[in-house]
Every structure is written in C-alpha cells, then in structure tokens.
C-alpha cells in the first residue's frame, strides 16, 4: 500500500509530518505545475471547478509514481466537492489505474474519523503513537501558517523588493525538513527573525486587505496565482479569513461542545443570507459584514463555475456595510497580467477613496 494526497497549498507538509513517525509508505505528487494542469484539464469534466482539476492532476502524477491509495478530502457539505472523490476514482479507473480512495469525511466523522484513518494506514499503530504524530502534524501546520502570516505582513514593508519571498520559501523547506519539535522550533525562530529583520520602508502606511472565499483557492497559491504575494508587492498587508491550523484548533475545541465555530461570521451574515449555501459562501458574506471598518478592502477568491461563491458575490453588493470587494475567479489561466491590473486598480481605488475622505 502506497499512499498519496493532494497538495492544497502547504497542507501536504503537515500530512507528511503525521505519516512519517507512523512509518507509512507514501509519495508526494510533484508540486502543481503546467503538466499537472494539462493532465487535470484533459481528464476532468470541462465545467468542473479548479479544485477538482488540480486535485485530480496531483492524483494522476502521484499514481504514476506508484501510489495506489489516495487520501481525499471529502465531506457532505452542500457543495459538490463532497462527491468529487467518486468521480475522480472513476476517472482514474478509466485511465487504467486501480486505486482506492480513503476518505477523510470530516463533516460526518469529525476528528475521530480522521484518527481512525491514520490508524488504518499505519497498520493499526498504537493510539499513543497516532495521537502524537497527529499533534506533530498540527504543530507543523501552525508553524507554516505563522510563517505565511509573517511573510504576508512583512512583504508590504520590504525596502528592497523581493527579499521576503525567498526567505519565506526557505522557511517552508526548513519546516518540512524538521524531524522533531526541537528542529521545528529552531526553524521557526531562525526564519522568523530573518523576516523580521529585513530593511523596511520608513513611514509606510500600508492598506490592509482580507482575502476570503472558497477554501481550496484561498489556501493554494498555485490556484490563486499568488494573489497575496502580488498584493504584498503593491505594498499591501494581507490577512485571510481562514488558516487551516486555526480552523482545526477551533474545531477541536468547539465541535465536541456542539458549538458552531463560525458563529460570529454566520450571525453577521444573517440579515443577508440565512443558511449555508455550500462551499464557503455563507462565511464569505459574513466576513464582509464583520470586516467592514477593520480592513480597507476584501479580495474574494472563487473557482470559476462555483455556485456558492457566485451566489455570495451577487449578495454582497446589497449589504449596508460598505467594504470594497474585488472578485477574482480562479481557473486554468496562468497569466497573471489581468489579475495584476485589477489588483493595482483596486488598491488605487481604495487609496483614492481614503484620501477623499480625509480631505473632506
């Protein structure tokens, strides 16, 4: 049994960290690249969204490297992503690959389901070991998110453009390489200090923009064409509605108590949208409401053909909270030019608006 799993931004590093101590045989697919995208679009249904396509591309490239079991994110939310595993399995079968899907089923089986899955793939390792490797994976995810938050903050202030990103990339590599808590801690400290000590622009007052939307395109820089890095280059500080480590930790605490971990966001969305419409559409509307006043603007990422995010996009202009929103649809396009034009225009617009308010 050789396992594989899709990338989804940096998430694969945390999954690796959980499987390594358990001695599981796995293969990480090559990082998303042009070939991944070509394979993905060739074998996917035409109108399906980019998360489906890139995940399938990862799977195909991993199966070529000998993987026969696939850890797949599922869940019976109201978005079609919950059914993707079945279609992907069928496509791989039609291609002549005999693979077995292993489902995380996060929404129905919760954490226990995931731990059981770890137990299965580790050939019934003792629970003590499973819990400790799970905890190590979560620690890595937290470290990865910390580095990303720091990079997305510091990039706006860098004096010499292009200094933060290489340090950030090295920090991710160092976290990936860390085999124990000590080296993980050392990597976070070393690269955290490096990023914090670059030459900064004096007196720079950056715009603050929140990035929201469908989880996959928010987490994966290949799918969203490095939108946070591009905003950083324009001197903008970005934050996200969603960091996986925060989401898991909150979920661990709230879910067993039967509390909705998104309750603030859902409550804020209530006047405009009263229920889950699948994907992250409900949260997107809520984020706009609670972020007004706290951020200068919001970038809304959505996969092309995504119904939940499309619905959210149509609801947002009617809220009384007046936060500028730029919708960006992510699909097979790999040229950044169009997106950069929009980001530039969006940040110009916000700056001019702020200046006009000040001069009034």
């Amino acid at each position: 049994m050789r396992i594989t799993f899709p990338h989804i931004g940096n998430v694969y590093i945390a999954v690796k960290a959980m499987l390594d101590p358990l001695g599981v045989d796995y293969v990480v697919p090559p990082k998303c690249n042009k070939r991944t995208l070509s394979l993905a679009t060739k074998y996917s249904p035409e109108g399906v969204c980019i998360p489906f396509k890139l995940n399938l591309g990862n799977m195909i490239e991993a199966v070529e490297l000998g993987a026969d079991h696939i850890l797949n994110v599922t869940g019976h939310g109201t978005c079609r992503m919950g059914y993707y595993f079945k279609v992907q399995e069928q496509i791989l079968r039609d291609m002549g690959y005999d693979v077995k899907m292993m489902l995380t089923g996060l929404s129905e089986n919760k954490l226990r389901g995931f731990l059981n899955l770890l137990r299965t793939v580790s050939n019934n390792a003792p629970w003590r070991k499973i819990l400790s490797s799970f905890a190590f994976g979560i620690s890595k995810m937290t470290a990865l998110d910390d580095m990303e938050i720091l990079a997305n903050n510091m990039r706006a202030f860098e004096k010499n453009k292009g200094t933060i990103t290489p340090i950030y990339r090295k920090s991710i590599q160092a976290i990936d390489d860390a085999a124990d808590y000590r080296s993980l801690k050392r990597a976070v400290k070393e690269y955290g200090e490096k990023m914090s000590s670059v030459d900064v622009l004096e007196g720079h007052k950056p715009l603050k923009i929140l990035v929201v939307g469908e989880i996959y395109v928010v987490l994966d820089p290949y799918a969203n064409m490095d939108v946070e890095m591009e905003l950083g280059k324009l001197g903008v500080v970005t934050n996200r509605s969603l960091y996986l480590s925060r989401w898991i930790k909150k979920g661990l605490f709230f879910n067993p108590l039967g509390i909705d971990q998104w309750r603030d966001v859902h409550k804020a969305a209530m006047p405009y949208l009263k229920r889950d419409i699948g994907g992250d559409g409900w949260e997107t509307v809520g984020e706009k409401v609670i972020s007004t006043g706290r951020y200068d603007g919001m970038v809304h990422l959505a996969p092309f053909t995504c119904m939940p995010e499309g619905s959210a996009q149509c609801i947002m202009p009617s809220t009384k909270e007046d936060l500028p929103v730029l919708a960006i649809y992510c699909d097979e396009q790999t040229s950044k030019a169009g997106m950069i034009t929009r980001l530039e225009a969006f940040t110009d617009m916000i700056s001019m608006k702020k200046a006009a308010v000040l001069s009034r």
């Binding site: 990082k31 042009k34 006009a356």
Partner: protein, 334 residues
Amino acid sequence: MGKKVFLGIDVGSVTTKCALMDDNMQLIAHRYIPTSGKPIIQIQSLMREISSEIPTGCEIGGAGTTGSARYLAGEIVAADVIKNEITAHAVAATHFYPDVRTILEIGGQDSKIIIIRNGVVTDFGMNTVCAAGTGSFLDHQALRLGISINEFAREAMKSKNPVRIAGRCTVFAESDMIHKQQMGHSTPDILYGLCQALVRNYINNVGLGKTIEKPIIFQGGVAFNQAIVRAFEEELQTEIMVPKHHEIMGAIGAAIIAWENYNATGKKTHFKGFEISDINYETSSFTCQGCPNQCEIAQLKRGDKVMARWGGRCEKWEYISNTKESPEDAAVTG
C-alpha cells in the same frame, strides 16, 4: 527653464496612443496608431512624431504609461509613473467631466465599467474570461461580412428591424449571425442586432451588480461606432456622452497622473523617450528550468544590458539587481 509639458502613452493590445498636455492640462497634440503586434517599434515611431509637436521653449516635465504593455513602455521611455488602465481612464474622465458617475469603456481586447461617486472611483468591473463585445470581435465580424469597420456603423444605423443575436459568447454570436444571414435578413439588421447583443452582454457581465447612473460617458476605440452608442442609449434609456478624444482617454489619464506626480514630488523627470528612437531594443524569451513550472520569461535588452524581465510566477527573475545567475546557467535560451 521653459514651460513644462506632460506626456501620456497608452499601449493597448490593438492600438498605441499618446497624448501631450500643457501644464494647465490642455491637450496640445495626440497620436493614435495600430500596435500591429510590434509595441516597441510603434512606441519609437510615436516618440519621433510627438517630439516635433512640443511647442518651442517647452520641455517634458513628466511622462506616464498605461495599457497592457505599460511596463514595457515604461521601461523603454523611462516613465516617471506606470499606471493601470482603469485608474488612467477614471482620472481622464473626471478631469473633463467632474460630475461623471459611470464610465463605459470598450477597447480592443477588454471592456470595463467604472463607477464614480463624488469624483472618486467606488467600484469597477472588467470582462473576465470572454472577449465578446470588444473591438476585436467587431473587427472580425465586419471583415467576415466584407465591410470595413468604418462602414460598420453607417450600415448598422440603417437598420429598421434588428434581428436577435445571442451575445453571451462570440462563438454563439457568430453561429447565430451566420444562420440569420443565410435566412436572408439584411446586413444592416444583422449588424445592429449584433450591436444590441454586445451591449446586452456588456451590461449583464461587465456591469453585473453595478448601479449605472447618469451622467454616463462612453470611451475607448469602440465609441467611434455610432451604432453601439445608439444601442447603449436604447438599452439604458438615457443619454450617453462620448468625449471628443474618447480613443485616447487612457493616454490623457497617464499624462494627468504624470503631472500630478510632478506637482506632488517636484522631481525632475527620468524621461528619455526622444533619445530612444534609433536605439535597437531586443526582446527575447527563455524557459526557466528552476522548477517544474517552466515559466516563459520575456526579457528586454538594450545592447548587452538587460533592462527588464517579465512572466515568472515567482520573483526569481523579476528584480534585475537581485538576479545573480544568468539565464544561461539555469535555462535554455529561445
């Protein structure tokens, strides 16, 4: 020292424009030429022409570039400011029409809508994945019907009973047009039907979720087409204004931004656009082999010196001063 004049250059996908403005922001001269897929050569010839228009005793106080080739153009003429076309169009429109509330802009390859309230941009939209409704598509259809783009509007205005054409997508529009033409509908009716379809597509896609309020101005190359203007007026049931220099509004905006920049900073211009007309620029590209992405990097060289590189997903080649290795070490030149 002489009076200052300001230059704006707008290099679009289909046409290249420039505007020369005095320090009261009055237009002195302008040019409008096709880009013809050779932006560098066209910028050079534009610079040759416009340099003769500078009034005696005046000198360039600042230069700005915009349009999809704004970085290339900015690098070549050493512009003081490089601005995206949405901001440039908004700045130009509010300069001539301070109380404008909606700007419709349709160019060669893209279309935009800009919503302005109290002289400030509050929202904008740009066509996303589809080129239906842009100048290139009109050009293509005019060519297919065997009429020049100049006759297009004149013919379309003769229409009495326009046919309905699907405007969602150029492919549907074209097959619909062919079908109607084979059924024997007259050319003016088909052409005006096409105009209506494009306007519907624009309002439903680019204008999705935007509140279009008066005064509305329509700029960009497609505003030459009277039939599109009429279709907009019928669809929105209101009057649309077309500025006198609608086709060069982007360039005017870039000149105004250069002027504002000069007034704010007082810095001497870097502009050296008039010295470049005989210099040989070379553009080339190579495929970076640094990772599986294999980005196609384009580079601009002046003699042996690399002036700029574009096209990578990461920052590896973007900042010339940060690049230690030469492309030859890591890449295959092409």
